[in-house]
């Protein structure tokens, strides 16, 4: 700390020099910012400017620098100084480009720029260069849970990339659901014929792969630790338990077919009415010959009923579409036609869903004489001669099909383990001493797959319909348990081709996780971030908010009920920091101080000046870029606002707001991502937590004698450049209407 040297570099390029009084900025950096080195450069981001800074670091011992130039989102590659702490004062996108043209704005423009220099200097004073936490010892083995098609594929993918794999399969054999298929749908041109599944061959490869260790008849009794140091207690059927040390986990526990017995109206449970899995069994028995029913009778006519118990809007059955069933029925109809073209095979469908090259497979089946009828089946009766009653949607009439066998295309139900929402409720009650809840908890946890020793529950959080999917369109592998990835039908209904593709990708994400953690780097989305949260436990009140609110279950509690940070599980969003009422949690380069000092650094005018001052806390992922866009489009907004980017609205600590308002700011705008079902927060719950916390701040404001409107929250999308400018101007107008903050002068 002793030999820290602080420097400010001011750029006068891009017109900054013309519009700002640079000398004024330098003075601010010196007298108020207390910078020891202050340099101005006409073109700071070019080779020469950057070299100047590098030289100062190398020769002049500069350790902390504030770059007063363009947005932190611009020229990022130029301003890279790994050994120094860097803050950016956004004079270009943040001031020059958004303050209205003309000399009558010169004053406020200059004031705004000076404040950003003050803030940049204040921030850098509180920043440390994150050292990172390299862990040579961390494990790079990949644990694959589930030995079906997805699991075997993931295992092979990782092993072929040189990583050791431990595969845990609960049954006595590899192959999962796929090993009970006669054939699979084609993966490649010409997409005309059903193909051998290749399961046996793959299983053989997996079993004999030098880098893959397979545990059959095994489950996970407990999975403890974090990426790089998971210890999995693998419990054999025999009762013996082996401990496996692993770096990352790929969960591929597949699906269960929707229980046909729940579909009595479609003949579920009646003779000669089977589901697709049942048909595969008959096909395997026939092995290419004539397919016979359970009663041994040769099937001469077969009817397939699509969407059985799926796409159900009544809430009774599955609401979703399982995607694979149309192609599967086409494949199965071919079983019959290939064995004997004279067999009548009809597929009753509503929408035939065979995307991509599936269209060729559909054509091929028609070519073979499979009949496709657009209709909705209402009733199926089993027995020796089955009947399917349906509404023919083309001929617009109710009709009946007689068949020796009826196949119901039922859906996929994910095997994703314990539903954490359910668990949390029960767990809270149980912790509260409720005996019944304790039993429920034991019962529920017995259904767990991973048995995670996590404060936040034994399995991965589930998405809609019990699938462990990602909510992000651009980032399909992002789960809420760092270093644990889901693949295959347990995360989304899918066919075998998609499952193998999915598992291949998941294997890569697992490899990535172990590589990152070894270097002490944050995983997605703050990839490469070396900072991590530390807590001054002596100040901790054990309120548990951080452990509860962390969206990624990174924080456990030690036996003394203090938070126990698992850095390797942490995504560096700072939600814990925002949650902490006593502000003991901080990152080296992002803390209550780095932001709080910026809030304090701003020069808040008095009542007489009639210049309101508004603090904007903007999410760096969407709101801050949106503000940049406004600048790039040369839209103007009020020069009375001061913007501070935050990692996530979830990291906002209410102290910043109360401090600001206490110091005489007239208002505070909080700009975060969309919350709710279609949330766009990159840290899942961050913005939602922020809204929740801030909803409670009203009383505090009242206590200070302030109107609730002095603190407002907004959902801002990255495309909202124009909207955000308008919102700001509207809010400033509203505040001017309200008059200055009564707190002015007391700060």
């Amino acid at each position: 700390m002793a030999d820290n040297k602080f420097a400010a570099y001011i750029c006068s390029g891009c017109g900054l020099g013309d519009k700002f009084n640079i000398a004024g900025l330098e003075k601010v950096a010196k007298t108020e910012g207390k910078m020891t080195v202050i340099k101005t450069h006409p073109f700071l981001c070019n080779a020469e400017g950057v070299q100047m800074i590098k030289d100062d670091i190398a020769n002049d011992g500069v350790t902390h620098l504030c770059i007063a130039a363009c947005s932190r989102r611009a020229k990022t590659e130029a301003f890279v100084f790994p050994t120094a702490a860097v803050s950016r004062a956004n004079l270009r996108e943040g001031v020059l480009w958004i303050v209205a043209e003309g000399s009558d704005h010169d004053e406020v423009r200059q004031e705004m720029a000076e404040d950003y220099v003050r803030m940049g200097c204040a921030e850098i004073k509180k920043m440390k260069v994150p050292e990172g936490n390299v862990k040579e010892s961390s494990s790079k083995r990949i644990l694959v849970v589930g030995g079906g098609m997805s699991g075997m594929t993931a295992a092979m993918a990782a092993a072929d990339a040189g990583y050791e794999v431990v595969l845990v399969e609960k049954t006595g054999a590899l192959g999962g659901f796929a090993k009970n298929l006669f054939k699979r749908v084609p993966f490649a041109a010409p997409y005309a014929e059903a193909q051998p599944t290749g399961v046996a061959e793959l299983a053989a490869q997996v079993s004999s792969h030098p880098k893959i260790k397979v545990h059959l008849n095994s489950t996970l009794a407990e999975t403890a630790g974090a990426p790089g140091r998971f210890t999995a207690k693998v419990a054999q059927e025999s009762g013996s338990v082996t401990e496996e040390l692993c770096g990352a986990i790929v969960q591929t526990t597949g699906f269960t077919t929707y229980d046909i017995a729940k579909l009595p109206e479609l003949g579920g449970g009646q003779a000669n009415v089977v589901d697709q899995a049942g048909l595969e069994a008959l096909a395997i028995a026939a092995n290419g010959g004539a397919i016979k029913r359970a009663d041994g009778k040769e099937v001469k006519s077969v009817a397939f009923v699509q969407c059985a118990g799926q796409r159900d809007e009544s809430g009774t059955h599955l609401a979703y579409c399982s995607g694979h069933c149309c192609a599967t029925s086409i494949k199965q109809a071919m079983y019959f036609k290939d064995a004997n073209p004279d067999i009548d095979a009809v597929v009753i469908y509503d929408d035939l869903r065979v995307p991509g090259m599936g269209e060729d497979f559909y054509r091929s089946a028609q070519q073979k004489g499979v009949i496709f009828t657009k209709g909705k089946a209402s009733k199926v009766t089993g027995g020796d001669s089955c009947k399917v009653e349906f509404k023919d949607l083309i001929l617009d009439e109710t009709a009946t099909v007689d068949a020796d066998l009826v196949v119901l295309a039922t859906g996929q139900v994910p095997n994703a383990g314990v539903n954490l929402d359910e668990w949390t409720t029960i767990n809270t009650a149980a912790d509260g001493g409720n005996e019944e809840a304790k039993q429920q908890r034991t019962a529920l946890e017995s259904t767990s797959v991973l048995n995670l020793a996590y404060r936040q529950g034994p399995d991965m959080p589930q998405f809609k319909y019990g699938f462990a999917d990602s909510h992000f369109i651009c980032f399909p592998y992002e789960t809420r348990r760092t270093g644990i990835y889901a693949a295959g039908p347990m995360r989304r209904p899918m066919d075998m081709l998609q499952a193998t593709e999915d598992a291949t990708g998941a294997a890569l994400k697992a490899i990535q996780a172990v590589e990152n953690v070894g270097l002490g780097r944050s995983p997605f989305p703050r990839v490469g971030d070396l900072s991590f949260p530390t807590a001054r436990l002596e100040g901790c009140t054990q309120c548990k908010r951080c452990t509860v609110e962390c969206p990624f279950g990174a924080i456990d509690e030690d036996e003394r009920r203090f938070p126990l940070f698992n850095e390797e599980r942490c995504r560096r969003c700072g939600t814990c920091m925002g949650a902490c009422p006593v502000r003991v949690i901080s990152f080296e380069n992002y803390s209550c101080d780095t932001v709080g000092s910026q809030v304090k650094a701003v020069n808040v005018p008095d009542e007489e000046d009639e210049k309101p001052r508004i603090l904007i806390l903007a999410c760096e992922n969407d709101a801050y870029p949106a503000l940049d866009m406004a600048g790039m489009q040369r839209l103007t907004y009020s020069a009375f606002v001061r913007v501070i980017p935050v990692r996530c609205l979830g990291s906002v600590n209410t102290i910043w707001i109360t401090d600001a308002l206490g110091a005489g700011y007239d208002g505070v705008m909080m700009m975060g991502c969309q919350k709710g079902d279609n949330y766009q927060c990159h840290f899942v719950k961050g913005s939602e937590m922020a809204y929740y916390r801030l909803s409670k701040i009203g009383d505090t404001l009242k206590g200070m004698g302030l109107e609730p409107e002095r603190m407002l929250t907004y959902e801002i999308a990255i495309t909202d450049g124009a909207r955000v400018a308008k919102i700001i101007d509207d809010y400033v107008a509203q505040l001017i209407e309200m008059g200055p903050s009564p707190m002015k002068g007391f700060g």
Binding site: G13, A161, Y465, P476, L508, K509, V527, I718
Partner: protein, 428 residues
């Protein structure tokens, strides 16, 4: 020249759209060296020209921002824009690649200050809006463009306009003397993420895209709905600039058709369902969307979205492949002729605007696939004979964004395997 920027343990990713960026980043974040070659001046690809994504209705640039940050912070990825792959020879673990780099006429000095754009007066059709409007011939492709550098259009490079741009640049970033460069380099594996292009709607003659101003493609509709688009987000008819209230969406425009694309393009149903919500966003209950379809392919949890749109009173569904479009010559409104096959009802319906949900076919402009590549019947990439090159995203199959990213991640995994094998055999 032979570039020392790559070795046989480098992965070349061709195409800088969402699939290419993903493949590059995922491999790089495993510690592998990657070259990401993009033929246009910016990364982002087609997704950056979409207004919203289904089913969340979120904005593509949101994910792009995160990916760009990953990219900026990652020294393992070398991004080369305006770069096309001219040739690839060799085999798994050792490919010789020839890259052609087109001149941008703007150097790394550029600070995107915009002075050059203000200086020139020449305009070109805006590639970011499918040419529906114009931009200056010295331009930043769009707000999220990466690298954040201007481009000077070749059409003005050697003209006084070009000189104006050069004169205006205070940071000496304009270099009108730039020439096309050729680079030879060695890589271990190649991921082809060359993406897709919309099927040429002119070929679908019964729908008169080439004859009727108010028949547009689904991609053009994305730009109409986007506030950053040519109409500032207003749904205005090309013929007269009047607001389109009664809009028809024609599915399978080119797809599932032996006369055009044999395959189903997968995304069009969801894209149209999404676009009906653009109509609602713009016009509320005053808007009217009609979807003419064969099968609605809203697979897996997208079914929710479909069911919600079905509940929207402003949206109606007609199971019919439209036979032809005629024109009401009084008001330039297209009249759709066909038969609703559910119960056989004949219609001749006039709409303000018709949106053709055009199919996806593999992009070919600026893409020269080596003979080594194995293609399916629609020319999507299945793999390579030498097993060291892989397709990713919609170059490998018609895929939505989410599945493209999965596909790209899988492709990165395969490339990483190749590099691992190369490395270990060399070590041995």
């Amino acid at each position: 020249m032979t570039a020392s920027i790559a070795t046989n343990q480098t992965i070349l990713v061709v195409g800088g759209g969402i699939a290419g960026m993903t493949a590059a980043l995922e491999a790089a974040e495993c510690g592998k060296q990657v070259i990401l070659a993009e033929k246009t001046p910016t990364l982002g690809g087609r997704t950056s020209l979409l207004y919203r994504y289904f089913p969340k209705m979120c904005h593509p640039t949101c994910g792009l921002e995160i990916n760009l940050r990953r990219l900026r912070g990652n020294p393992n990825v070398r991004v080369m824009t305006m770069t096309e792959v001219a040739a690839v020879t060799g085999s798994r673990g050792n490919y010789a690649v020839t890259l052609k780099v087109k001149p941008r006429y703007v150097t790394e000095n550029c600070t995107a200050c915009g002075d050059c754009g203000n200086a020139v007066s020449a305009e070109i059709p805006n590639p970011a809006n499918y040419g529906m409007d114009k931009i200056k011939a010295a331009y930043l492709p769009h707000g999220m463009a990466y690298p954040q550098r201007f481009v000077i259009d070749p059409s003005i490079a050697a003209t006084p306009e070009g000189e104006k741009a050069k004169a205006a640049c205070k940071v000496d970033a304009v270099d009108l003397g730039m020439q096309e460069e050729t680079l030879e380099l060695t890589v271990g594996s190649v991921v082809w993420a060359t993406g897709w292009r919309p099927y040429d709607a002119n070929k679908i003659q019964p729908y008169g895209y080439d004859r009727y101003a108010n028949v547009i493609t689904s991609l053009e509709f994305e730009r109409l709905a986007d506030p950053r688009g040519p109409t500032g987000g207003k749904l205005l008819r090309p013929s007269d600039g009047k607001e389109a209230k009664n809009i028809a969406f024609i599915q399978c425009a080119g797809s599932r058709d032996e006369n055009h694309l044999r395959h189903c393009s997968r995304i069009c149903c969801m894209a149209t369902l999404k676009q009906t919500q653009y109509v609602r966003e713009a016009l509320g209950d005053a808007g009217k969307s009609t979807i003419y379809y064969i099968d609605i392919r809203a697979i897996d949890r997208f079914e929710d979205f479909y069911q919600n749109v079905q509940k929207d009173a402003t949206v109606s569904f007609i199971k019919s492949k439209v036979a032809r479009i005629a024109l009401n010559e009084e008001n330039n409104s297209p009249i759709l002729h066909g038969v609703d096959t559910e119960g056989y009802h004949r219609y001749a319906s006039e709409h303000d605007l018709v949106v053709l949900a055009v199919g996806m076919e593999p992009e070919v402009t600026g893409v020269k696939l080596p003979d080594d590549i194995i293609l399916d019947s629609s020319n999507f990439i299945e793999g390579s004979k030498t097993e060291g090159m892989f397709g990713a995203g919609s170059a490998s199959s018609p895929l939505d964004v989410n599945r493209s990213v999965q596909s790209a991640t899988a492709a990165a995994m395969r490339a990483v395997q190749v590099i691992h094998k190369t490395a270990s055999t060399e070590a041995a």
